[in-house]
């Protein structure tokens, strides 16, 4: 009996749904998902006694095929259409099983890539795209998606229903987009992967393991994308670099007592050097072409952080230059806030505070806890202790999760000791 491969059910779910759905068509996505779920349940019962078969994907595909045909017979929705769908299922599974071993993995990768384009169809809202990718390509259950996004299962369910409905109604094809359509479609995938990654990467909330899984899954999907000529674009390599640089630093973000740590406080020996190397290799690939995307700039910033021996000796000038460019192409208030931090490191806290005061659409930021936290930090450094205290308190009021509140409380306390 073989040892359990980690996440084998999740992985197989993602493979099987892509194989079946890409052949049955997006209007039968739900049928594919249900058949795969049934096959996985059967596997759970049988493999327990007899061990995991040498080719689990083929084993599951056989079972899923039978279940899908059963289901078309049993379900009201398919009544009358059974004669059309059953042969389709038969052919889909037969086709996939006929692919010889060495080509089987390529075939799965190709199916998953097509699935990715389908999930990120422009008719689906961004949060729906991400939920659908997690469900179909990553084998996450609605419960896990809900936990990862801190929303209710009902809300996840609704997003998925809407997304599937859009696919059905628009008859979205599993063919790869043509050359004229390819660039915006790949951009949509990159945006969804960026969203997925940030959801996993952002400040400690919920289940840390689950969030690390989101980061790993977004890397896996991005690697799948760049491995295909359709997705082998410099912006995709830059996003992949950014993800590697981020994941490399994950182990150092939380102290042994569970508290979040500032970049300045992190033990940099915990950073994963081999990950950083992979990030550097991706960043080099992303430079083969003239286009500079926001992913290039963010990856560049992350690169300089990864290269710095400590916080003080970080190349803040380069980082500031990259933030200047980033703000020029994507003038978001949050980007401007990050730029102000870099500016403060180069020209002092007062310069940072001036930059914050001049931020466009500052109204948007008034309810954003990090706006007040950053202001507080710079005010404290500039010796404006009372203002810093007030800003920290505002940030505390607005912070959404306990880890962040605890972090801010510690800052505020430290200020009390040194300020009086």
């Amino acid at each position: 009996m073989g040892a359990l491969v980690e996440h084998i059910f999740r992985r197989e779910s993602g493979r099987l749904v892509a194989i079946l759905a890409s052949r049955l068509g997006s209007e039968h996505l739900h049928l594919a998902e249900d058949a795969v779920q049934d096959a996985l349940l059967k596997a759970m019962q049988t493999w327990t006694f007899h061990g995991i078969p040498p080719n689990p994907t083929a084993w599951l595909l056989q079972v899923a095929r039978n279940r899908a045909i059963d289901q078309t017979r049993r379900t009201q929705a398919f009544r009358g259409k059974e004669a059309d769908i059953a042969p389709l299922v038969e052919e889909a599974a037969g086709d996939a099983l006929a692919v010889a071993a060495p080509r089987f993995e390529d075939e799965i990768g190709d199916n998953q890539l097509r699935m990715m384009f389908v999930c990120c169809h422009p008719g689906i809202a961004p949060e729906g795209q991400v939920a659908l990718m997690l469900r179909t390509l990553c084998g996450f259950g609605e419960r896990e998606i809900a936990a990862a996004f801190l929303i209710s299962e009902a809300a996840v369910s609704k997003r998925l229903v809407r997304a599937r409905q859009c696919l059905r109604e628009s008859g979205v094809s599993f063919d790869l987009p043509g050359p004229e359509e390819l660039v915006p479609r790949v951009d949509a995938i990159l945006q969804a992967l960026y969203l997925l990654f940030n959801e996993g990467y952002k400040a400690s909330h919920g289940d840390a393991l689950l969030r690390a899984d989101l980061c790993e899954e977004s890397i896996r999907l991005c690697e799948l994308l760049v491995a295909n000529p359709a997705g082998d674009r410099t912006a995709a390599w830059a996003l992949l670099a950014l993800m590697h640089f981020g994941v490399a630093r994950l182990p150092a973000r939380v102290a042994p007592d569970g508290n979040m740590l500032l970049l300045a406080e992190q033990d940099r020996s915990l950073w994963d050097r081999s990950r950083i190397q992979r990030g550097v290799a991706c960043l080099e690939r992303s430079g083969r072409g003239g286009h500079v995307s926001k992913y290039h700039l963010e990856a560049g910033i992350a690169f300089f952080h990864c290269m710095a021996r400590d916080f003080r000796s970080t190349n803040w000038r380069e980082i500031l230059a990259l933030y200047d460019m980033l703000v020029a192409i994507d003038n978001s208030p949050v980007g401007g806030l990050n730029r102000a931090v870099a500016l403060a490191m180069v020209n002092g806290p007062e310069a940072g505070l001036d930059a914050i005061a001049q931020l466009p659409r500052a109204g948007v930021l008034a309810d954003y806890h990090l706006y007040h936290a950053v202001s507080a930090q710079l005010q404290a450094e500039a010796g404006m202790i009372d203002a810093a205290r007030a800003s920290f308190r505002k940030a505390l009021d607005l912070a959404g999760n306990e880890a962040e509140r605890e972090f801010l409380r510690r800052r505020l306390e430290a200020l009390g000791a040194s300020g009086s």
Binding site: L4, R10, L41, W47, T48, F49
Partner: protein, 129 residues
């Protein structure tokens, strides 16, 4: 079966066979793939544990689909899955144990209890001869 382990001969003769019948909740929410992996891992670990004690003899899961026959000549036939039943027989084991108490004690380790299922423990009667 353990002829080359003379120390076991005594306990072998004293042991009886017991049947474990596993029933799971029909209306339990469907596990996600990640939960399936966890459930399978728990069952594998439990079976391994029974095997290591040389007490595991056989076991199989049962398909959810089936039929129930009733009435004169079994003429009334119900098709499964049996929606009217709250619990569904999900599988069985045959194990050996010195007595019912020991078989019950061993059944306590079954992962099915974490999801609201049950285990029925019955001694298998062998007709001597």
């Amino acid at each position: 079966m353990d002829a080359n382990q003379p120390n076991n001969t005594m306990s072998e003769t004293k042991n009886s066979q017991y049947l474990y019948v596993f029933r799971s909740q029909q209306d339990a929410p469907q596990p996600t793939p990640e939960q399936m992996e966890q459930i399978m891992g728990e069952w594998m670990a439990w079976i391994r544990n029974i095997r290591e004690q040389n007490r595991y003899q056989a076991g199989d899961p049962l398909d959810d689909n089936g039929k129930v026959l009733r009435g004169p000549k079994g003429a009334t036939i119900t098709d499964g899955p049996f929606v009217e039943a709250k619990e569904l027989v999900a599988g069985y084991f045959i194990v050996t144990a010195p007595d019912l108490d020991a078989a019950v004690e061993m059944a306590r380790g079954c992962p099915i209890f974490r999801r609201g299922g049950s285990v029925e423990v019955r001694r298998i009667e062998h007709i001597p001869g």
